[in-house]
């Protein structure tokens, strides 16, 4: 097993990987940008190496600097987390060349799945159903407009390399396709350094159901069941759960087999996720046509804790063992989904102002605790949320005996989550888990957008206990906690401490 690894990421995922490393007696190396000098992932690592300025392209995306950090600290392996370099085959290959183990799939598997057109062709020949779509060889705006016409509207335009909903655009009947193409291209170039775009037909009111797979270097490849991630906003997942309320045991088996076939087709190793669209309009008994391969995420997913809570596995531990050449650390025949788990993504964003991302100091930050509650976060009280990165503040993951018990637990935990200093979506999430449609499990990827007016409807009424504290707060000097600097200054990452 490795003695020391470098975590090429920041925020909650870096902190989460370090926790498993500590449990396994593996020393950790953090990397950080100018904006993250005192970030949680830096403070919790055994060593930390500065890799550049705040802009991701000059720090967390700079493969050369990250590998140099691994070399100078003697790290034997690199865990890429999600985002940044995690799905970059050139980086994985550069690791191998430098004699450092990349904790993830082989570069060829990443390359095969990273190209959406290649992946589709491969899936079609492997018997995995796909949705109509194409990546035009001619990437001019005119050729992409033609592609939109061919696949039909509503169409989706997205970066060919990449994921996580970044740069994705929907073009409906009346939308300006040209503006969408240009915006998506700009996003793709900025986020992934590659402006190649993919155009596909949008399946209406689908569910998003994905299968977690795990493969080792000894030929074992298994499904760790599904996560339903239908609650999304602008293709960014907000709530994920397992089991999916939509799957029968028979459909679960078929989707699991399709996911394993997809992984085997590219010689996959380590943790991966095969995403499917589940078409609710497909008549029951329509055979394989009820679900379509969307893409494979060749990395650990943001929502992996949902699978950890229902299977009892530590996926990061399994990743480290498999990367070190060991067989899967569990018996596939003993795997099952126990109870129900739900993840809610707490974002630093303001639902009342069009979900503008928020940056600033966490004046007060109290995470919920208690039975069945897990919080993965990369911040603590007094930290400043910087403007340069993803606005994910924390992942609240709950488990319960049943879906209803898990929803009640999520409601309770969200009601204990105190964040003051920046606006978050916690109130929205709470209304979401209380909503009858969500409680009934009638989910599709457009549900959240349709519910938004209801979920964000604000009451300007101030409850009596709030009015009381408003009156007393200013006249109680010992209670007033004021940050010592401009609240939106992203350069001052020190934050205020009580």
């Amino acid at each position: 097993m490795f003695r020391k690894i470098l975590i090429a990421n920041r925020g909650e995922i870096a902190v989460r990987v370090m926790r498993t490393c500590r449990e396994m007696g593996i020393a950790t190396v953090a990397v950080y940008s100018d904006a993250d000098r005192r970030a949680r992932h830096v403070l919790e690592a055994d060593e930390a190496v500065h890799v550049g300025p705040a802009a991701p392209a000059e720090s967390y995306l700079d493969a050369g600097r990250i590998l140099e950090a691994a070399r100078s600290t003697g790290a034997e392996a690199v865990h890429p987390g999600y985002g940044f370099l995690s799905e970059n085959p050139a980086f994985a290959a550069a690791c191998a060349d430098a004699g450092v183990v990349f904790i993830g799939p082989p570069p060829d598997a990443m390359r095969a799945m990273g190209s959406k057109i290649g992946a589709r062709r491969l899936m079609q020949t492997s018997g995995v159903p796909v949705v109509p779509g194409e990546t035009p060889a001619d990437q001019s705006t005119r050729a992409l407009l033609d592609a939109v016409t061919r696949v039909g509207r509503p169409a989706l335009i997205k970066p060919s390399s990449g994921g996580g909903g970044i740069g994705m655009r929907v073009v409906r009947a009346d939308d300006d396709a040209e503006a969408a193409i240009e915006g998506a291209r700009r996003d793709a170039e900025h986020a992934f350094g590659d402006g190649t775009l993919y155009v596909e037909r949008l399946v209406e009111r689908p569910r998003h159901v994905e299968i977690q797979i795990f493969a080792d270097t000894h030929g074992n490849c298994v499904s760790l069941f599904e996560r339903e991630c239908s609650i999304q906003r602008r293709h960014q997942k907000v709530m994920e759960e397992s089991p999916s309320p939509a799957l029968t045991p028979e459909l679960r088996t078929r989707m699991g087999e399709a996911a394993v076939a997809a992984a085997r087709a590219v010689g996959y190793q380590n943790a991966g996720t095969v995403e499917f669209l589940l078409d609710p309009s497909a008549a029951l008994g329509a055979g394989d046509q009820s679900f379509f391969f969307l893409e494979m995420n060749t990395r650990l997913q943001v929502e992996h804790p949902v699978t950890e809570l229902v299977t009892g596995l530590d996926l990061v531990r399994a990743q480290l063992l498999v990367a070190a050449g060991q067989p899967l650390p569990f018996r596939p025949e003993r795997l099952n989904q126990r109870g129900h788990a739900i993840e809610l993504r707490v974002y630093a964003e303001d639902p009342a102002t069009g979900f503008l991302p928020q940056a600033g100091p966490l004046l007060l930050y109290r995470e919920p605790r208690g039975p069945g509650v897990r919080v993965d976060s990369g911040f603590s009280e007094g930290d400043t949320v910087p403007v340069h990165y993803d606005p994910l503040l924390a992942k609240l993951v709950v488990s319960g005996e049943t879906r209803q018990a898990a929803l009640a637990r999520a409601d309770r935990a969200l009601g204990e989550f105190v964040v003051l200093g920046i606006t978050t979506n916690i109130g929205l999430l709470r209304r979401l888990v209380q909503h009858p449609e969500v409680r009934a499990g009638r989910l599709d990827t457009g549900l959240l957008d349709r519910l938004l007016p209801e979920l964000t409807a604000g009451s300007s009424e101030m409850p009596e206990p709030v009015a009381a504290v408003v009156g007393l707060y200013a006249t109680t000097p010992s209670a007033v906690a004021t940050p010592g600097h401009a609240t939106n200054d992203p350069w001052n990452s020190g934050g205020w401490r009580p």
């Binding site: 970044i166 915006g183 700009r186 996003d187 900025h190 986020a191 630093a348 964003e349 009342a352 102002t353 069009g354 979900f355 503008l356 991302p357 928020q358 940056a359 004046l363 007060l364 109290r366 403007v387 990165y389 993803d390 606005p391 969200l414 009601g415 204990e416 989550f417 105190v418 964040v419 003051l420 200093g421 978050t424 916690i426 109130g427 709470r430 300007s460 101030m462 409850p463 009596e464 206990p465 709030v466 009015a467 009381a468 504290v469 408003v470 009156g471 007393l472 707060y473 200013a474 109680t476 010992s478 209670a479 007033v480 906690a481 004021t482 940050p483 939106n488 200054d489 992203p490 009580p498």
Partner: protein, 137 residues
Amino acid sequence: MRFTTDATSGEAEFIGNGEWRVVIDGQAHRVFAAGPADAPWIWYDGVVYRPDVYDRRTTSSTARRDTTGSLSAPMPATVRAIEVAAGDHVSRGDTLLVLEAMKMELPIKAPADGTVVSIGCRVGELVQPGVPLVELR
């Protein structure tokens, strides 16, 4: 300490670490407060209140416009694209520039018909709220 509001009265106690205990008619409530004395953030029963900002909330991602006709960023952001130049005539709703923050694109649109007087930013620049980006007349 004893308090009285328009509607009721009761007891409020500052516990420490931002926490307050308010008792009204024998019923205890947990409240958290932080921030400047004149603009506090207050948490109660899972909901955050900003008593000072109720009136100046905007409901869209369009830029703030001050009285001199200049547009500024609604939040700290990076300038991704500038779509206009000084002297251009623009119509209400035209995209003037595109900001990017936390992986999101925010188009800054013309709030009214007019002429671009000056551009106060460069592509790639990190801009702060309140700093004029485009001046329109």
